[in-house]
């Protein structure tokens, strides 16, 4: 057991730190939440900078434009960028954190060559069209149809909660290619160009007052069969690859940022004067520190090729801990919590309401842990 990073890791940190110090001061201010074209521009320009400096797709293989960095370098990247308050992945979330990694594992050479470099340099923004009005937690019951017509599929149906849908170029979409097969055997995973005729995107307003996700209506949308990732009707297996990244690694940079927010709050007088708040905040910090240690432990185990249950509990533990911290912030701020403008902690409290729902609700995570890790009898499905 060792927490210390190697000298090579530390020199990577120093180099990254120096780079961040030169680029961050020149960064334009972040656009407002609902200014989507501007947000897209801001986030993708940052992605481009990372790419030019060799920091995009750190853990992606070199063949696909990544850096082929070690998992520990990836952790250091999260630590340094959070500490320096560098931009978050933003609209590049789906592409860099789960669609891209899915293509690396499951895509054809042509699919990889077309999309991976564009994702990395910020030229291509992805969205995720998995959920439907009737298929949320029970994702495999999805009904959007894909009927084969020669070398194309014809898509009809509706998707919902599609984050970045209004500005995305491409989507990872789940469709039903065999309506007669048992529900998780008739699904396929498609790359869907969002500018195809027949796609209509309608933004939905969230509790933040802005449109963080959208409904997507598909009417006779014609997509080449070549856009399918994995075999026809084998999309559920590919979906689980995507979910592995979405639930496993996608939360890590948020976690480091949570630690920063805690430290900020710990230095405030409102907390310092109040012992019970200090106790509660200390608990949050202890939990986040523990989750950061768990992240490191998961990385160590994965590197050794022996992943433990830690990766399975991460999403549940982080999202619940983050909400406890959010409640504490509201309590600490008292009436100063009654405005959201210029009030990061309150805005975060609202945003993080989604953490226990999105990417697999906590109840579903508990079912998965109970059944796959602890071997308890299965739910009816």
């Amino acid at each position: 057991m060792e927490l210390r990073y190697s000298d090579a890791d530390e020199s990577f940190r120093a180099e990254l730190h120096a780079w961040l110090e030169t680029v961050l001061p020149a960064l334009a201010p972040q656009p407002p939440r609902d200014a989507w074209p501007e947000r897209r521009k801001w986030d993708t320009e940052w992605q481009r900078r990372l790419f030019d400096a060799g920091y995009a797709g750190l853990h992606w293989p070199k063949d696909y434009g990544g850096r082929g960095a070690s998992p520990t370098e990836q952790l250091i990247f999260y630590e340094e960028t959070a500490r320096a308050r560098a931009p978050y992945v933003g609209v590049n979330f789906v592409g860099t954190l789960h669609a891209g990694p899915t293509l690396i594992e499951e895509g054809t050479d042509e699919q990889k060559a077309t999309h991976l470099p564009r994702i990395l340099c910020g030229d291509e923004v992805w969205c995720q069209g998995f959920s439907e009005p009737g298929a949320g937690s029970d994702l495999a019951s999805l009904r959007t149809r894909a009927d084969r017509d020669g070398d194309d599929y014809i898509l009809n149906g509706q998707k919902i909660w599609c984050s970045f849908g209004q500005i995305a170029d491409v989507g990872e979409f789940l469709v039903r290619t065999d309506p007669d097969a048992p529900k998780n055997r008739g699904i396929s995973w498609l790359i869907l160009p969002m500018d195809l005729p027949g796609i209509e995107v309608r933004p939905l307003k969230t509790v933040l007052g802005s449109s963080e996700f959208a409904e997507v209506f598909l009417t006779d949308v014609r997509v080449p069969v070549a856009n399918r990732v994995g075999d026809e009707n084998d999309g559920w297996r590919v979906t689980n690859v995507t979910l592995k990244y979405e639930r496993g690694t996608a939360f890590v940079s948020e976690l480091v940022d949570s630690i920063r927010l805690c430290e900020d709050l710990a230095t405030r007088m409102a907390v310092k004067g109040d012992e019970s708040l200090q106790t509660e905040l200390g608990r949050c910090i202890a939990e986040f520190d523990a989750l950061w240690a768990l992240t490191k432990r998961n990385v160590s185990q994965a590197t050794r090729g022996a992943p433990g249950p830690g990766a399975m509990v991460m999403k549940l533990a982080y999202s619940e801990a983050r909400q406890r911290f959010g409640e504490l912030c509201m309590k600490a701020l008292q009436r100063d919590a009654l405005h959201v403008d210029d009030n990061e902690l309150v805005e975060e409290r609202l945003r993080t309401l989604a953490l226990t729902i999105a990417a697999g609700a906590s109840q579903i995570q508990r079912n998965i842990i109970g059944e796959r890790v602890l071997g308890l009898p299965r739910e009816p499905r």
């Binding site: 057991m1 060792e2 927490l3 210390r4 990073y5 190697s6 890791d9 520990t72 952790l75 805690c262 430290e263 709050l265 710990a266 230095t267 405030r268 907390v271 310092k272 012992e275 200090q278 106790t279 509660e280 905040l281 200390g282 608990r283 910090i285 202890a286 939990e287 520190d289 523990a290 989750l291 240690a293 768990l294 490191k296 432990r297 990385v299 160590s300 185990q301 050794r304 022996a306 433990g308 249950p309 830690g310 509990v313 549940l316 533990a317 109840q363 995570q365 508990r366 079912n367 842990i369 109970g370 059944e371 890790v373 602890l374 071997g375 308890l376 009898p377 299965r378 739910e379």
Partner: protein, 308 residues
């Protein structure tokens, strides 16, 4: 950076675990701590780990197992003393409550900024006829003799004690999860194992989650004791580990009691022994609440951020 067990640590864990399985079955735990048990542990090298050249991280691995088997006795202080004698320890308070007083060769007391050593034979105490944990006899002391300075740095001594205690708590949390999962698979009601009901399944998933999170915290606190980075990091991770592992042990104890139903309220089922030990350990090197406060104060104090 590696927060997984090394091959040597896996061997160490498996070695101590099979030794405890053979020599400290629950009947012996229920009989409480005695000299013979101490001799067995000492012969296995439990208290001389440090002088035998093992790291703090190794000690953490061993203490996690001692917790899993609910081994009674003043384990942490005996290792901190490390010279083969049985030692108890407590942070100074008024009155003092001393555990296992009749077994002790030495008593260590952590004062405001020093550690002192007191001869247990000089301690006048009133023994409780009904200790909370039947395996942890407790005595009340109105006035502790002054004692002699024990030449260690108070802060580092405490951080080691905090971390080893957290390792015991982790072991309790882990074993409680195992006991509850096994029972939930076997106990049938409404023609189904109770583990198939979400109300139970979700409690079990949370028990595992708390345990895994606590394990990461405790291992990192152990690693940091060896590496001696800044005082800021050491304090924060040690106190944090005690918070997370302590909460995990107590909460898992309460939840396990619920999952066992009426059986969980019996003397016969082991769950109460684990829960009571979790409550005992929560008071060692200060409560989870107090440790949490220390984490917060450390995290929020820029004066000690760069300190080493």
């Amino acid at each position: 950076m590696d927060l997984d067990l090394s091959d040597d640590q896996i061997a160490l864990r498996d070695g101590i675990s099979s030794m405890l399985a053979a020599r400290v079955p629950m009947e012996r735990v229920r009989a409480g701590f005695d000299r013979a048990l101490f001799d067995d542990l000492a012969a296995a090298g439990v208290f001389s780990l440090r002088s035998d050249g093992f790291s703090w991280a190794d000690c953490v691995v061993v203490f996690e197992q001692l917790g899993r088997y609910c081994v009674p006795g003043p384990l942490v202080a005996s290792l901190l003393l490390g010279d083969g004698r049985i030692a108890g320890a407590a942070i100074e308070s008024q009155p003092m409550w001393i555990e296992h007083l009749d077994e002790l060769d030495v008593f260590l007391v952590g004062g405001m900024d020093d550690v002192r050593v007191v001869d247990p034979r000089e301690i006048v105490a009133e023994r409780s006829p009904w200790p909370l944990d039947p395996c942890t006899p407790i005595a009340r002391v109105e006035l502790l003799p002054e004692g002699m300075p024990f030449g260690v740095e108070r802060r580092n001594w405490e951080l080691a004690g905090v971390t080893l205690t957290a390792a015991l708590q982790l072991g309790l949390a882990d074993r409680l999860t195992e006991l509850a999962v096994a029972y939930a698979k076997e106990r049938v009601q409404f023609d189904r194992p109770i583990g198939s009901f979400q109300a139970i399944k979700h409690m079990l998933a949370d028990m595992l989650t708390r345990t895994e999170v606590a394990r990461a915290a405790v291992y990192s606190a152990g690693a940091v004791l060896d590496e001696m980075p800044s005082a800021w990091t050491r304090r924060r991770l040690a106190h944090g580990a005690k918070v997370v592992a302590g909460d995990a042990a107590i909460t898992n104890g309460k939840v396990a009691t619920q999952i066992f139903g009426g059986m969980g309220f019996t003397w016969e089922v082991d769950v109460h022994l684990y829960l009571k030990r979790a409550w005992v350990l929560d008071t060692h090197f200060e409560s989870a609440d107090r440790n949490a406060e220390l984490v917060c104060v450390t995290a929020g104090d820029p004066r000690i951020w760069g300190d080493s």
